[in-house]
Symmetry: C2
Subunit: 258 residues, 2 copies
């Protein structure tokens, strides 16, 4: 008899967020779940790891009602996956690592800033099949009900087919009603950037401080991108690698007089 | 008469590190330099950005002896580049953005964890030519003297030829004597990972905590990688892109029943 698949879950919004609870509920229907997630929000942490400080890791009963083993960690999402793989699970190898469901979009270049995706990419570096799920709704109490079926189906297919090695899927859901979702597109990452502004304020002591605010600028006219898919009512899946080498640049740089 | 090129400098070891001072000295010989760098070490910060807290930015006289305008920032390396581009430099567009010189290696997958490279990649996202420099020596008082000529030459060639758009160069120097450096190789990022261990300790109150320690495992036998180049006495240059799409995975994922 085949044992149940082992599914590791992490996120970047913290272990008490609504998104990770939704994911734990859904993955519990597919296998045995272990959660190692940050004890506080870690949005925008990118692929940060904790090297100059020590880490705390505590067992928690936050998912006891679902019968799920869970640990909260003082570190980043990437730290959580490292701790899970090398300390919590030890010789048990997860069949799937899922991260999220993020409260907010992780499309285009945001994959680089995303703690959600850093957990998935960390797992991919370890050679584990991994998926990051994000809903394009930043609200604390975002409604995940309309995407539950999709999340479960994508994870099921990942368990059934496997994911190409060293690849993590970046899955984003539009914040629209169930009936309005047109389907799923496998996409490339759109070329986009943030047009930043810094909101300059004075503290009560008269010293300046700044808040990062910005507009997301899509510079990519392609209809095969994640931005296009979400703008047009589709769920986007971008398979992500962690080899950042730009092979196309080799000829140009080779001409330099070095 | 051509005006001097404008060169923006950041790093992740903090504005008072020896590596950034070396870089400021060298770049001052090539153009007008503006520094926006973290006010404290930010190693391992990956592409983190500060979204849930405000930022401080202060003008500092740390490079007054070199006649260089400098700002220290409470945020991450990526924050520094965003603040520099959109707030400090405003309408002035840098001809080159350089980051480092990092005290320690940023080869292979470490590009993802690297604050040094996140500054360079942030600049690349903005469409600016960018280079991250790292010396494979973690010492606080590392000796940069033998690589000064190389750093200056690589930056000069970048200014002269330009860097392909949306590409940041990841340059790593071996920690060996000048006469032993065999040359410069344009490389791909080696496939490698960290075999992590967590050093478990008890605090004075009897509670457990962990330090992340690990061994770097190169799983890539290729002789065209950055790891091979450095192990064999060469300087490595990896041109890095920020499109993480794994196009090769499209056919496999397209077969899924979604």
């Amino acid at each position: 008899m085949k044992t149940k698949p082992l599914i590791l879950i992490s996120n970047d919004d913290g272990i008490t967020s609504k998104g990770i609870r939704t994911l734990v509920e859904l993955m519990s229907e597919l296998g045995e779940v272990v959660v190692v997630a940050p004890d506080k929000p870690q949005s925008g942490m990118g692929h940060a790891i904790t090297v100059n400080e020590s880490l705390r890791l505590y067992k928690t009963d936050v998912f006891e009602d679902l019968g799920v083993e869970a640990y909260e960690c003082s570190g980043t999402p990437a730290d959580c996956v490292k701790l899970a793989k090398h300390h919590v699970l030890k010789d048990r190898k997860p069949d799937l690592v899922v991260s999220g469901i993020n409260h907010g979009s992780n499309i285009s270049v945001n994959v680089l800033y995303s703690g959600t995706m850093s957990a998935a990419i960390e797992a991919a570096i370890e050679g584990l099949p991994a998926i990051g799920f994000s809903l394009c709704d930043y609200a604390h109490n975002a409604d995940f009900s309309h995407i539950r079926g999709y999340v479960k189906r994508i994870a099921s297919e990942a368990l059934r087919n496997g994911i190409p090695k060293y690849v993590a899927l970046n899955v984003n859901f539009p914040a629209i009603m169930q009936g309005e979702i047109k389907g799923i597109k496998i996409c490339r990452q759109a070329r986009a950037r943030w047009q930043e502004n810094f909101d300059e304020r004075k503290d009560p002591h008269g010293r300046l401080y700044y808040w990062l605010v910005g507009d997301f600028i899509n510079e990519d006219p392609g209809q095969d991108t994640d931005v296009w898919a979400l703008d047009n009512g589709y769920i986007s899946i971008v398979p992500c690698r962690f080899d950042m080498t730009c092979y196309e640049s080799f000829p140009a740089i080779s001409q330099w007089e070095l």
